[in-house]
């Protein structure tokens, strides 16, 4: 059978889904790319700049859009998968709008959801006015104004790492990997916008795993004088002037600390997307203890699912940065190509 006669359905039009779609289309496969939002790109559309080089995220969005600009890709935005039938290694798939016919392979690239910060009640997100998330701060960077709810420039900003990550209380044991370096990046951006501000990062461990991350961390301290305090914030409240009062422990000094800040940024972690988890029963796929989709092998099968012909790409399998997501999506394309050449 010629490649063009083979049909692949990709669920999720974020970074992973789009990159894999582009690769597979260039191999000559017919692609149905389903995206529930109105436009492709996924979470990156919400981000302002990317670590470690602080490039504008729109440059990566442009790359993604170019990837899917191919006649063999049928991009269906505002669309969600409805029904699936699986027989003899083939999938019959329909959306709420149309029947997609038979697919020879399916790629799940449903990505992640940000942790719901209201679940960490002690931080008061959704209650105290100037407790925001890392995503809220990105939106402020987009708008160009970093202001408190009283429209004042914050002079002192706290950043809390690991919100919803490495946290048994909320059922998330896993590290979300990218929050530490996001905090470093955002701390620098705050200092750029408000040079006379003070920024304090409250961390458990600084996990600078990627290339140039450690350098960015060092720059944040040497050039931008960002303060790093090894300890978790235990509670947040508001004083009579509306400033936030935070309690934490400085584990290096071995002392509890109490501090007032004008704004507190919560580095919300990553969880498997609800939209992805909704597919679990439809496809009969499994999740691991971390809630992400369980890959067939941790070392050489990290795009493979427990269902033949069904593959994974990107952060539906584990927290990843953009670089690793793109690599994972390209690897998925290779796996699918190999699978279809055998079947």
């Amino acid at each position: 059978m010629h490649n063009k006669e083979k049909h692949i359905v990709i669920i999720g039009g974020g970074t992973a889904g789009c990159v894999a779609a582009g690769r597979l289309a260039r191999e000559g496969y017919r692609i149905s790319l389903i995206e529930k939002d109105k436009k492709p790109g996924g979470k990156i559309n919400n981000w302002y700049q990317l670590f470690p080089d602080r490039r504008r995220s729109v440059e990566v969005t442009d790359y993604i859009n170019k990837e899917i600009d191919h006649p063999l890709i049928d991009l269906m935005t505002g669309t969600e998968l409805d029904k699936v039938k699986y027989k003899n290694g083939k999938f019959s798939i329909s959306t709420g709008k149309s029947d997609l016919g038979q697919a020879d392979a399916v790629l799940i690239a449903t990505g992640f959801d940000l942790f719901d910060a209201t679940r960490k009640e002690e931080y008061g997100y959704g209650i105290y006015d100037n407790v925001i998330t890392s995503l809220d701060l990105e939106n402020m960077f987009h708008s160009g104004d970093i202001l408190t709810t009283k429209e004042e420039i914050p002079k002192r900003v706290g950043i809390v790492h690991c919100v919803g990550s490495r946290d048994e209380k909320v059922g998330n044991f896993h590290c979300s990997k990218v929050c530490c370096v996001t905090a470093v990046k955002q701390a620098i951006e705050i200092k750029e916008h408000i040079p006379d501000s003070e920024v304090f990062c409250f961390y458990m461990d600084m996990r600078m795993f990627g290339p140039y991350y450690e350098e960015l961390y060092r720059e944040s301290q040497e050039k931008w004088v960002v303060n790093y305090i090894r300890g978790k914030v235990s509670e947040v409240s508001e004083n009579i002037e509306g400033r936030l009062v935070i309690k934490a422990e400085d584990t290096l000094l071995g002392k509890p600390i109490r501090m007032e800040v004008d704004m507190l940024v919560l580095m919300v972690g990553m969880q498997n997307a609800k939209a992805g988890l909704n597919l679990q029963d439809k496809f009969g796929i499994q999740t691991g203890v971390n809630g992400f989709f369980r890959i067939r092998d941790n070392h050489y099968g990290n795009n493979l699912s427990n269902v033949d012909g069904l593959f994974y790409a990107g952060t539906c399998t584990a927290p990843m940065n953009i670089t690793d997501t793109i690599s994972h999506a390209r690897a998925a394309a290779v796996e699918i190509t190999e699978y279809l050449s055998k079947n």
Binding site: E121, E122, I127, Y128, D129, E235, N239
Partner: protein, 353 residues
């Protein structure tokens, strides 16, 4: 501050509170220091709300103070609590209402232990039977007495003669609520409103017309902490925690503190006296102290009960400034008289007296 955010949390932490037929267990501290509170609770439930509430004179301390003070073993306290359950079982009650936050936390801890480690339940049954010949059923529900007042807060509001409103200005009175660590910090699911923004006292205060103050040290422990005050050398730690709260709430000009826990009520009241003796500081308005009331005492004055029948005169910080704000009339001559007209000794150096 966004109230909607708190409301969302409150909606997530709503517990099932039984409606009737309660087995009541008293608090060691409350029946000694605030006896009017428990009397009021029983009277309101029986006479005003027409509920069946039963207490057995054979009920004892839960030994919680000894347990948290590290002199009573867990096996022992489980057996003591099992004996309380046996009393409830013998009288045909399945819903236990507890007057003390410490006991409430202990009962929860024990029941949760039994759920997770069923062998400890069997061992406790064996220990109790060997020691007393009694058997017991694990209760259907464990409720704190503030949960019951919370459940009937609107019925109490309907009977209010003196709502929590400044009778001169018409403004709501600003009230501090203090929940007590063992009410919901150990098991948020058992507390009305959870651990971070508990609603049990807020619901009462708002239903009765008051305004709740959310101040920075609201969640902080009162300092009672058994090992703080039992060990004399640690008492300064207990005091400094209460002081931290008073300093934090002072700018909001609270008219009263309403506490959930016997220990918190006692220490937030008595430490104000101690601080005044030590450095002359008070934290209320016009050089006064801040009256500290139990939720039953608050409900009582709202309903128009005689403050001296409620026992407000037995506090260190006297409540007259609050009563005056609410427009409640009281007779100073009756303050230290027994019901049969005998004069009680009048304590010296009380605050607000």
């Amino acid at each position: 501050m966004k109230l909607e955010g708190k409301k969302r949390i409150w909606s997530e932490f709503q517990k099932e509170i039984p409606d009737d037929h309660f087995f009541y267990v008293r608090s060691c501290i409350r029946q000694s220091f605030f006896p009017g509170s428990e009397q009021f609770f029983l009277k309101v439930l029986k006479e005003d709300l027409g509920k069946d509430i039963f207490e057995d004179p054979n009920h004892t301390t839960c030994t919680g103070i000894g347990y948290h003070g590290d002199v009573v073993q867990f096996d022992t306290i489980q057996t003591v609590v099992a004996r309380h359950f046996a009393l409830a079982t013998e009288h045909g009650y399945k819903d236990v209402v507890i007057s003390c936050v410490t006991s409430f936390g202990i009962y929860e801890e024990i029941i949760e232990t039994w759920k997770h480690y069923p062998e400890t339940l069997e061992k406790t049954r064996e220990n109790l039977y060997k020691a007393t010949g009694r058997v017991f059923d694990v209760p259907d529900s464990i409720t704190h007495s503030s949960d019951i007042i919370y459940k009937f807060k609107d019925e109490i509001a309907a009977k209010a003669k003196f709502p929590l409103i400044d009778h001169v200005t018409g403004e709501p009175l600003r009230i501090v609520e203090h929940i007590g660590c063992h009410y919901s910090k150990m098991f948020p699911k058992y507390g009305v409103g959870g651990a971070e923004f508990p609603h049990v006292l807020i619901g009462m205060i708002e239903a009765w017309g008051g305004e709740v103050i959310d101040y920075p040290e609201r969640r902080h422990c009162c300092g009672f902490g058994f090992r703080q005050y039992i060990v004399q050398a640690n008492r300064g730690y207990s005091l400094s925690n209460s002081r931290k709260k008073f300093v934090s709430m002072q700018p909001y000009k609270p008219e009263a503190i309403i506490a959930n826990c016997p220990g918190c009520t006692m220490f937030m009241d008595k430490w104000q006296y101690t601080i005044k003796e030590m450095d002359g500081m008070t934290y209320g308005q016009h050089g006064q102290g801040i009256p500290v009331l139990t939720y039953e005492e608050l409900a009582g004055i709202v309903m128009g009960y005689n403050p001296w029948d409620l026992g407000l005169q037995y506090h260190n910080v006297q409540s007259e400034p609050l009563l005056d704000k609410m427009g409640i009339k009281y007779d100073q001559e009756e303050k230290y008289l027994t019901k049969d007209g005998k004069k009680l000794p009048v304590p010296k150096d009380l605050i607000n007296a």
